[in-house]
């Protein structure tokens, strides 16, 4: 047992669980290989593993730094928080907000995806307004 651990780095159970997991992954990969878009699915899976860490993270970190996010001031968060909420909504609903697929949307829903940009802008405005009001309220309370 101690010998196994020295060689492998963990318990036999750890090895069994991982081999089973990787075997299932390999089987799914074989199934993917049978589909028409096999290489693309594989590429998207690997890309997805790195999408947050190598694309999204540098992007939002940079935006945060530009906004002066590393200085501990109360005002920073009153800008940062609504910006992050708005950015998240943009990220999640970008196909509708930017109307990236108007034809397929219309073929499915019988409407044009026109209102989403305005809605997102209005929600963004509301978030910043609420955050600003809260800031003003807090500032007044701390001075009085």
């Amino acid at each position: 047992m101690a010998r196994f651990r020295a060689l492998y780095g963990s318990t036999p159970l750890h090895l069994i669980a991982l081999v089973a997991s990787l075997a299932l992954t390999a089987y799914a990969a074989l199934r993917i290989a049978e589909t028409s878009g096999a290489a693309q699915i594989a590429l998207w899976l690997v890309g997805a593993a790195l999408a947050h860490d190598l694309v999204l993270f540098p992007l939002y970190t940079l935006l945060g730094l530009l906004a002066g996010g590393n200085r501990p001031r109360r005002a920073t968060n009153h800008v940062r928080v609504p910006a992050m909420l708005s950015g998240l909504l943009f990220l999640m609903f970008v196909p509708l907000i930017c109307s990236l697929a108007p034809d397929t949307y219309e073929a499915a829903a019988g409407l044009q995806p026109t209102p989403y940009l305005q809605r997102w802008l209005a929600i963004t405005a509301a978030l910043f307004l609420a955050s600003g009001l809260l800031y003003a309220l807090r500032a007044r309370r701390s001075t009085s």
């Binding site: 750890h14 073929a107 809605r119």
Partner: protein, 433 residues
Amino acid sequence: MELSRLFPATPPPGPFRGGFWRSPLRGRWLTSTFALVLLVGVTVVALTGFLSYAAYNPRLGSNDLTSTKGLLGFYLFDWPTRPAWLYQLNQGLHVIGGLVLTPVLLAKLWSVIPKLFSWPPFRSPAQALERLSLLALVGGAVFLFVTGIMNIAYWYAFPFSFYPGHLYGAWVFTAGFVVHVAIKLPTMRRALRTRRLVDELRMPIDQTRPEERMDEEDELAPVAPREATLSRRGLLGLVAGSSALVFVLTAGQTLGGPFRSMALLAPRGRSYGDGGPNDFQVNKPAAAVGVTAENTGASYRLELVVGPDGSVAQSLSREDLLGLRQYTYELPIACVEGWSTTQTWTGVRLRDLAMLAGVPGAAEMTAESLQGEGDFATTTFSADQVDAEKSLLALRVNDADLSLDHGFPARIIVPAAPGVHCTKWVSRMTFVT
């Protein structure tokens, strides 16, 4: 076996060095808090996803859209017809659940980012295998969230078919998820005991201190933390608030009624403007699939066919159908994309049509649509779905004739079936004993 000798002892500069990651909020307690939410939430989203595969009754006819599935498309049971809101609930949990968990997933990925750059990349065969399985976990998770979100917005920019991609991706993810939970559960439980949530929720920013490193291998708590610019409760609140915001802006497309208009960013939170009996969400309007007023007009006939030899038992006009005994039920129709709508449908029972075809108690029925092309132009129903009390060939909705976009002259409504199985513009029904 000490494998760290394979790599230079000094890590490359930048993110591979311990001092690079300076947020005072990162640490095992924070990661474990997100992990606990995901453990429960992702399990629900995964199970409802696999159940949705079963809801298509994939063993019947050409219902299965994943022909290369092998063992990954399992068949357990014929999908039930009761309760009628079963598929609405299932897809509401799957789609709205997935949307609501997206901020939590992003927060979790943010919280563990130093681990991508850990140095040496692995110290033992055990660690190398574990990191390989993390590729399946993280790749699978982000792949599923991204393809799911793109699919509900009809942005088919992925160069493969959604159904097989999302199903096989789900298995890749599940393989990574189960083993990750099994390995990390003890660490999570230990980490959650290091702090109390109620204390953290009382802690303002100026009292926010970095987490302690739990052991030698703890790569999450920062070596050189900078001053906090956000409290831990602030971060938890931001994530919870993001989820709540996403819920408010999308859930209405599943809940329907007065909530629909609140779903401002959901693809299906909209109305067609006239407020009439046919003003509810359409999936694929007639014009998009080449169905016209002509081929649904006076010449329209519904053929009832006795299978498998294909002899036509009955050929019925819409008037003939309206002359049969009519039933009215309030039933939801729920799309795989997570939106649904409950309407009052009137029409002929499918079981009465089976009787009329001379195949009472049919084992299967295959419905064909005038739309001709497309994955769901032909759908096969189980014996239970044909026989269910509330399974209708609907002719009217909300006391008005069906509109062309909603399937005029006749459409199928089977309780608890996926919306795409509620075939519109039905032109032929083949009953098999």
